[in-house]
């Protein structure tokens, strides 16, 4: 990642308080076009809150978020999605009574702003890409966990997002399924989508990220390549305690 690369998403001094609790305090971050940025940190360290602030689910208490140079802080989630940022949720939320294809269609029509006919074409293409074309007419409540995870991705892709935020998209997958999911993420990057990944499975996130940011108690405690981060004393302290640092 050279400095000549374009910053596509940027946060400056982003804080979010819930009452007296600082879920995020003064976070600066930059996301470069085309990279995969991993976010790690213990439970409750602010990763999901940062995602929610970026996509507009909650407003930053302080600070601003810029997407392609435009201030997007405080915009509503649908507007931010239409601009080009999509997020997959930790807890999958398929539209259970709609078919798999219809789920993706909604993303293509609304997030992607396509007319219905073009949206169906896009849906077919995306479903084939994430390998869900065989279950496209199945109600989305009746597909397996890995398929649901891929459906979340497919919906996000259908919005033609330039940036996709993945919040623990591999939770509940077995090692083989994780390998497949990682291959899929690499393929998504090949499509020109920039990814920001929150993941607890360390091997997975280390293996795929170009750069990583480590959070603890709402603060950024480290940033760098996976190797740099893994050797950083404050990261080790946050995860394993003072004894190991």
């Amino acid at each position: 990642m050279g400095p000549e690369q374009n910053i596509i998403l940027e946060g400056r001094g982003v804080s979010r308080y819930f009452g007296a609790l600082a879920a995020l305090s003064g976070i600066d971050f930059s996301l470069y076009e085309g990279e995969i940025l991993g976010l790690i940190g213990p439970n409750g360290s602010g990763k999901t809150t940062l995602f929610n602030v970026i996509v507009g689910v909650c407003r930053p208490s302080e600070g601003k978020v810029f997407f392609e140079g435009r201030d997007i802080s405080g915009m509503s989630p649908h507007r931010i999605c239409q601009m080009g940022i999509a997020k997959t949720s930790q807890i999958v939320q398929p539209f259970t009574r709609m078919t798999v294809a219809e789920n993706v269609l909604v993303g293509a029509m609304y997030g992607g702003g396509l007319p219905q006919k073009e949206a169906w074409e896009k849906t077919r293409e995306i479903l084939a890409f994430v390998n869900l074309d065989k279950v496209m007419n199945t109600p989305s409540g009746k597909i397996s966990i890995p398929e649901r995870r891929r459906l979340e991705l497919a919906r996000a892709l259908a919005t033609s997002a330039k940036v996709i935020l993945l919040d623990e998209n591999m939770a509940g997958l077995n090692p083989n399924e994780i390998e497949e999911a990682l291959d899929l993420l690499r393929a998504i990057r090949e499509r020109g989508v920039t990814l920001m990944v929150v993941e607890h499975i360390m091997r997975a996130v280390m293996g795929i990220s170009d750069r990583m940011i480590v959070f603890n108690y709402g603060e950024k405690i480290a940033e760098g390549t996976p190797r740099e981060v893994a050797e950083n004393p404050s990261v080790i302290r946050a995860y394993l305690g003072d004894k190991y640092a």
Binding site: K87, Q93, P94, F95, V106, G113, Q116, N137, P139
Partner: protein, 323 residues
């Protein structure tokens, strides 16, 4: 397994379209052969029930937001029509359409704050709104010292035409609502409404302006509810706030839709026909106890078919396909 091409998955088969057309033509011809006033009146009431249940279905059936105040729009339509005809000498058909417009003028500002509420809170807010409008119309003249709504004295409309006229008027409104529901179901908007029902936050995250879509559905529902209220006012020729803003109108709309199946095209048709057709003979036979009997029947149907008659049948069909 036969794969339905996407986008056509729920298109009505040709046979169904032909059947619907045949039913419509038959209904147009009925008054030519049937001169029984009672039969036409009963049919008219069924059409009105179907139309009202369809209004509620478009909003609450598809989004899952339980609107417990449609009586407000029924009353607004009834009063707008009555006042326009009596005070303004405006022709009937123009009056009911204007009544619908007035209802939309209320629905948008009411919907903007209330449609941000979830679950029971939306139901409570809309119920409060309906009760408030009833009280406002009831007390308006006394409080302001004017002679406009005429409070509990009510308003008498010009003597209306025959049952046949109302039969056709409600037939047209019912058909229009049926076609609108059919079109909404397979439109962009229909997908968004269903997505809101299933997972509203997820819908918002993939680009659906959920508040806007809900307001559209709420306004469409309010418009037609008011139009129906206007027609009913002319049919009854005498309206009071307690009649046309009555919570019973709301309850009837909810029950008809629930019985038939929320969020289905045929649910309102089946629910309203079923409820009206069992009410009439029971009312004639057991004038004092019929409500108890109807209550028991409603409970039994809902216990046996929790998704409504049409909703449950559709579910059985899907399950038997083994998908």
């Amino acid at each position: 397994m036969i794969q339905t091409p996407p986008g056509r998955a729920f298109t009505l088969p040709r046979k169904a379209v032909l059947l619907a057309a045949a039913v419509f033509v038959t209904l147009i011809l009925v008054p030519a052969f049937c001169h029984q006033g009672y039969a036409l009146r009963l049919m008219g009431m069924i059409f009105m029930g179907i139309a009202l249940a369809s209004c509620w279905n478009i909003m609450s059936g598809y989004t899952g937001y339980i609107d417990f105040g449609p009586a407000a729009y029924f009353g607004i339509g009834a009063y707008a029509t009555a006042l326009l005809m009596v005070r303004g000498g405006v022709p009937f058909f123009l009056s009911i359409v204007l009544g619908g417009v007035v209802a939309v003028a209320f629905a948008v500002p009411v919907g903007l704050p209330t449609l941000r509420l979830r679950g029971a809170y939306f139901a409570i807010a809309t119920f409060a709104f309906a009760e408030a409008t009833r009280q406002a119309v009831l007390e308006w003249d006394r409080v302001l010292g004017v002679n406009f709504f005429q409070g509990s004295h009510g308003i008498t409309l010009p003597i209306g035409p025959t049952h046949q006229f109302f039969y056709y008027t409600f037939l047209v409104i019912m058909t229009v609502l049926f076609v609108i529901t059919y079109l909404v179901e397979r439109s962009r908007m229909g997908y968004a409404l269903k997505a809101i029902h299933e997972a509203e936050d997820a819908a918002e995250l993939i680009g659906v302006n959920t508040l806007k879509i809900k307001i559209y559905a709420y306004a469409i529902s309010a418009f037609f509810t008011a139009v129906i209220g206007g027609v009913d006012a002319y049919w009854l020729t005498y309206i009071t706030p307690n009649d046309v803003f009555s919570v019973h109108i709301t309850i009837k709309m909810v029950i008809m839709c629930l019985l038939g199946g929320m969020g289905t095209l045929l649910g309102p048709v089946v629910g309203a026909s079923f409820l009206t057709l069992i009410s009439e003979p029971l009312w004639a036979r057991f004038p004092y106890d019929y409500l108890i009997i109807i209550g028991v029947i409603i409970v039994l149907v809902i216990v046996a078919m929790p998704k409504g008659i049409v909703g449950t049948l559709l579910e059985w069909k899907v399950d038997s396909r083994g998908t």
